[in-house]
Symmetry: C2
Subunit: 151 residues, 2 copies
Amino acid sequence: MLTLTRKTEYGLIAVCHLAQVGEKVVSARDIAKEQAVPLPLLMNVLKRLHRVGYVASVRGAHGGYTLTAAPEQLTLADIIEAVEGPVHLVRCTNPSRTARKCDRTARCFIRRSVAQVHNGLREFLGAVTIADMLTGAQAPAATDTPRVATQ
Amino acid sequence: MLTLTRKTEYGLIAVCHLAQVGEKVVSARDIAKEQAVPLPLLMNVLKRLHRVGYVASVRGAHGGYTLTAAPEQLTLADIIEAVEGPVHLVRCTNPSRTARKCDRTARCFIRRSVAQVHNGLREFLGAVTIADMLTGAQAPAATDTPRVATQ
DNA sequence: TGAAACCGTACCGTGCCGATGCTATATTCA
DNA sequence: TGAATATAGCATCGGCACGGTACGGTTTCA
């Protein structure tokens, strides 16, 4: 239904928080407290972000997380993919495993167009960086919304 | 999770089919047979499309549906909204009813940026017309995907 | 009058998301 | 060395929306 899951929301919040504090190591507990996010959920998300290498972890007392990727390089698409898996606008665009439920694939005369829209969506999400999110968050009256040009 | 529901898929298929046959009245049964789509589901979707006025219905024997809106005017966003309701990238962007679950709204420092992305997504979907889908479906190697400019 | 087709609504099962809990591992500090 | 802190990994569980089904009603035409 074209909606981000809460995991992604929490992931975005965490990453933006880490990007904001710079190199400082921040524990999941601190992020959860400051951003009013449920700690266990946040920890789950941070684990995934760690697994793909977007954040570094420091274990033990006074441990926590740091952002390893550059905010200008890290995109919304990256976060989504890391937290909730590859984006698939429709089942057809999912080449993997059991998702091959659609037996219409061969005769589907929309498939190509949908694939184009799918690519457009991915490009759109890949064009939004964490740095963008931060500047947009701080500027009170932020410019205008991202524009889309269908070419 | 950033995926269209099957209802929307069926809706797109139905609308594109109707756009392709022109002014001819086509029954849901025929569309279901030709496009290999489950008939009851297709009927549900066609009812919704009828309710918002994108298709006209002819009852009785030899009845069926016709597309009322112009394929160049009807967009992907229209279909999605008609079939599965308003698009909301996150709960915050949903101003209605019980969806106000996010108590972080006030202190959420990402909210504004997310809203911008949300608007960008809506514009993106609103820029894809049914006519686009049809030409894309017929042309084997269609131009390139829609581009996104984050400003 | 009966068949064909649309219309409306209600219902149910399943899969996924949101959420929780527990155990193991690693680091710091007293 | 032990206690406290914090991440790592996995397993489980409930709720809900989506996908699918069923039934009864209305309209039109042969």
